[in-house]
Amino acid sequence: MIPRYQTVLFVVLLAASVAMTVLLWRQLDSAHQRMLEGQSSAPTQAPQVAPAEPATLMVASDADGSLQPRVLSLPLPSLEANPGARARAILGRLLDLYAAPDSAHPVPGGAASVEQVFLLPEPANDPSPESANDRGSQNGPELAVVNLSGSFAANHPSGIETETLTVLSICATLRANLPRIASVRFLVDGQQLDTLAGHADLTRTYLTSQAVPAEGVAP
């Protein structure tokens, strides 16, 4: 015969276990929802309500190591209101092309691989007052900091040519659409990484003027 107090204790413990399970499950679910909301609050996709505008993508080809311009009509954020989001949307479309099954430069990841693009005034190399005024003005040269996702770098095919083409096509595409961007630096998950996938140097600053090749010529 089980004593009554043990039966009561068992029922109370069982009820507490069930209640804790339900509570933990709900907290897990709400944490997951918060994480998804946090991700989706960043504009990973260009807003569809924006009018479509032509954007020039410098598309890489592994076959001949070239960058070829391709003009697409894309809905893009305003250049004046949010140039960083505009740059991100354009680069996202470029990486979507690379993630497509028939890509000439296959790289998995797509648009979500570009986490942020920050535009900053170009650091001073020339200390003259005129140069400082130019940098301080709206039309001064800018440095773009492109923050890529860790999964993009981890899954990028390894090789000098393929890594170089990815880096140069990003630089050349930024220059083609936002000519004020004079230089580009890369981060991966917010941190500096030595190389993209074992070869292309990600510690240096890339000049966009050097990324743009002559017509149909390997950079």
Binding site: I160, T164, D201, T203, A218
Partner: protein, 240 residues
């Protein structure tokens, strides 16, 4: 007495001349032994190694192919009387600073960094994307390649001609590769990709193509021929 003294002094004078001549000839011999003719040296850098596998796909590892190509090319160059310095001889992880130290101490006439990739086709030749610079007494380590850019481009041209002459597809480019950017010698990164020429079997996988011993041998032979040609073009040119 006076005649005897004169004969003795003449004999002593002849002996002195003989001693001086022997001393001079021995000094000349010693000089010849201490200053040998400058060696023609090539640095072969088999990329990656150890825990750094480089590119990989299944059992295929970039580090294995670069080492195999380095060993093959070293034999071909040694057979042609060229001194070869390699940055690794086995499966060890050598950081790029140590590779550059080896290359720069070798005072080499050509530095070849060997890579392999499953992307693209043919052989990719890359020179540093640094802007050319004037030689300076002290060159920054990270941009040590800058004064050598023009000679590196010339070396890439010679390699390109030899590879094309061997019927291999070639792509030329510039890149930011830390190991090449710090080399103080004419330096080219050679990346072997699956064969893309018309003679290559079309149904072969990229891994099979890269593992093809005949393909590797043709590339190594072409590279060795190019380096011999480079030696004939650049005899005596040891500075940027």
């Amino acid at each position: 007495m006076a005649g005897g003294d004169g004969r003795r002094s003449r004999v002593r004078g002849r002996k002195s001349w003989v001693v001086v001549l022997i001393w001079l000839s021995m000094a000349a011999l010693a000089q010849a032994q201490t200053a040998p003719a400058p060696r023609y040296t090539v640095v072969l850098d088999a990329a990656h190694g150890g825990a750094d596998t480089g590119g990989h796909s299944g059992a295929w590892l970039e580090k294995d192919l670069t080492l195999a190509l380095s060993v093959r090319l070293r034999s071909l160059l040694a057979a042609r009387g060229i001194a070869v310095v390699t940055t690794r001889e086995n499966d060890t992880d050598v950081d790029h600073v140590h590779r550059d130290e080896l290359a720069n101490h070798a005072n080499a006439q050509a530095c070849i960094s060997l890579h392999a990739s499953l992307s693209g086709t043919g052989v990719h030749l890359f020179t540093s994307s640094l802007a050319p610079a004037q030689p300076a007494r002290f060159q920054p380590w990270l941009t040590a390649q800058a004064p050598w850019i023009n000679r590196s481009l010339a070396l890439a041209g010679v390699l390109n001609s030899a590879l094309q002459h061997a019927g291999l597809g070639v792509t030329l480019g510039r890149t930011a590769l830390p190991v090449v950017d710090s080399m103080a010698c004419p330096a080219v990164a050679v990346e072997l990709s699956p064969e893309g020429s018309a003679s290559a079997p079309s149904n072969r996988s990229p891994v099979d193509s890269l593992n093809d011993a005949d393909y590797q041998a043709r590339v190594a032979e072409a590279l060795a021929a190019a380096i011999v040609e480079w030696r004939s073009q650049s005899a005596g040119a040891g500075q940027p």
